[in-house]
């Protein structure tokens, strides 16, 4: 008898699978012969999907966004970082813009704002980590991170959180940097990283055969909601990111059991340059 054999399945450690246990974990398979956009999100509106916008806050009752189900702010006092409900809205306008892009694509989704701006530059890394930790703990389906950090001291923890999110079925969508600097978390394989293309179609997105930027989405001259109930025209990878977050929200509302691995595959198969956008 092999020293690796076990008397019963209960004794098996989490990293192994006994010869007889394969059948016990049969997973549902409803994959079509060809994954199309119609299969992926046809008729979907984001219903039932919980989306988190990790940003500068979201303006309350903006006409282009409507109800934000929950708003929290991460604050730093000395070494203590806290997450608490907050009604101060948006300190910049950027979070409102991202929430508006997601809302336009997936009007029925549930939106939560996590404000990680406002603690000063020096506190920004710790606050971003605490905000992401909170979002992962809360188990959101999609987290939009139109932000990055260049501070190396936070990279390990950020990596752990990105991997934890991946295994808990929380899809992190992160903006790629369009400057030649090392920044994170968009470089991690456990997130979906997004850069910009120049089309004006919000549903046009391209799978990049040369990562680490994995997808390109609309990020040029995008009409977005901003502070004071107004709208602006904006450009940047940070606006391309919520386009992909919105598409992921649609896909998950129709196929809620998809893992991040599967979701990324569906994104690839339905990309404009892969399935011709069909």
């Amino acid at each position: 008898m092999s020293v690796l054999a076990h008397e019963s399945d209960e004794e098996l450690p989490a990293w192994s699978l006994s010869a007889s246990a394969g059948e016990g974990i049969n997973l549902p398979s409803s994959w079509p012969e060809r994954v199309t956009r119609d299969w992926a999100w046809g008729g979907a509106s984001g219903t039932g999907v919980r989306v988190c916008v990790l940003d500068s806050g979201v303006e309350l009752d903006h006409p282009r966004i409507g109800t934000v189900q929950r708003s929290v702010a991460v604050t730093k006092n000395g070494d203590e970082v806290t997450v608490a409900d907050d009604d101060s809205g948006d300190l910049c306008g950027h979070g409102t813009a991202c929430a508006g892009i997601i809302r336009a694509l997936a009007p029925e989704c549930e939106l939560t704002s996590v404000r990680v701006l406002g603690a000063g530059y020096t506190g920004s890394g710790a606050v971003m980590l605490a905000g992401l930790q909170w979002a992962v703990d809360e188990g959101f389906d999609v987290v939009n991170m139109s932000l990055s950090t260049t501070k190396k001291q936070y990279v390990d923890r950020l990596h752990e959180l990105a991997d934890a999110a991946y295994f808990r079925r929380t899809m992190l969508i992160a903006s790629a940097h369009n400057m030649p600097v090392e920044s994170f978390p968009w470089r991690f394989a456990s997130v979906v990283s997004v850069g910009s293309h120049e089309d004006d179609d919000p549903y046009a997105y391209y799978s990049n055969p040369k990562p680490p930027v994995e997808f390109f989405a609309r990020g040029l001259n995008v009409d977005v909601p901003w502070l004071g109930g107004k709208t602006l025209r904006c450009t940047g990878n940070s606006f391309a990111t919520p386009h992909v977050a919105g598409i992921c929200t649609l896909i998950l509302s129709k196929h809620p059991d998809l893992t991040p691995f599967q979701l990324k595959s569906v994104l690839h198969l339905t990309s404009t340059n892969v399935g011709s956008g069909e």
């Binding site: 910049c92 950027h94 000063g120 932000l147 950090t149 369009n178 600097v181 990020g219 450009t235 990878n237």
Partner: protein
């Protein structure tokens, strides 16, 4: 000891005025290449956690240098904190970003481009370019140009900060200040005195090894 090395190098590298000229030239060129009404560089004051107008070209030049605001609010604060560049066009000139900018600059921009100034993992500040021509359509090639230009501005800002740290080390009363003053004195000494001083320093170095 990087401050000491910087202090010794400062005597060779130049003066505060030279650094300022470099930064001023940077914002002038930023304004010119984007045909903009104004361009500014904000420096992050880490101790106060505030952004400070360091150089301005065009609208606001001459009045804004030295003005401060919090490091993590508004468009500049978002760009600094998140490291992501941003281009915003206010088609109605009536949103809060315009009013914020108007309060700090005395002038209402229709649009702005903001990009972080990054050197390795440090964010030193933000470059803003205000009001490109009204009929210009923004492209990703311009976004790329903005990023490339920001790298150059970041190097200028890094030099300015290193120069200031070097000067602080030279002017300081601590032991680094004393060493830096000795280095500076040797730089300007007569040949004979300089050689004697260097021999003495070589002996001291041997003793400390």
């Amino acid at each position: 000891m990087s401050d000491l090395r910087a202090a010794v190098a400062a005597g060779v590298l130049g003066t505060e005025d030279a650094y300022r000229s470099l930064l001023q030239a940077t914002v002038e060129v930023a304004r010119a290449i984007f045909h903009a009404k104004a361009a500014s560089v904000f420096l992050l004051d880490q101790e106060a956690d505030e952004l400070v107008f360091e150089a301005v070209a065009g609208e606001g030049a001459g009045e804004l240098v030295g003005k401060r605001f919090p490091s993590s609010t508004g468009v500049a604060g978002w760009v600094l904190t998140t490291g992501q560049p941003l281009v915003v066009d206010d088609l109605t000139a009536d949103t809060r970003f315009s009013r914020e900018a108007a309060e700090s600059t005395g002038y209402i921009p229709r649009g702005l481009m903001a990009v972080p100034l990054l050197v390795e993992e440090r964010a030193l500040g933000v470059l803003e370019v205000l009001d490109r021509p009204a009929d210009s359509t923004f492209t990703l090639a311009e976004m790329n140009l903005l990023g490339l230009f920001a790298n150059q501005a970041a190097v200028a800002l890094d030099l300015l900060q290193r120069g200031r740290r070097a000067r602080a080390a030279l002017d300081g009363d601590g032991e680094l200040g004393a060493l830096a003053r000795i280095a500076a004195t040797l730089e300007g000494a007569e040949d004979e005195q300089r050689e004697a001083g260097l021999r003495l320093l070589a002996a001291l170095e041997q003793l400390l090894r």
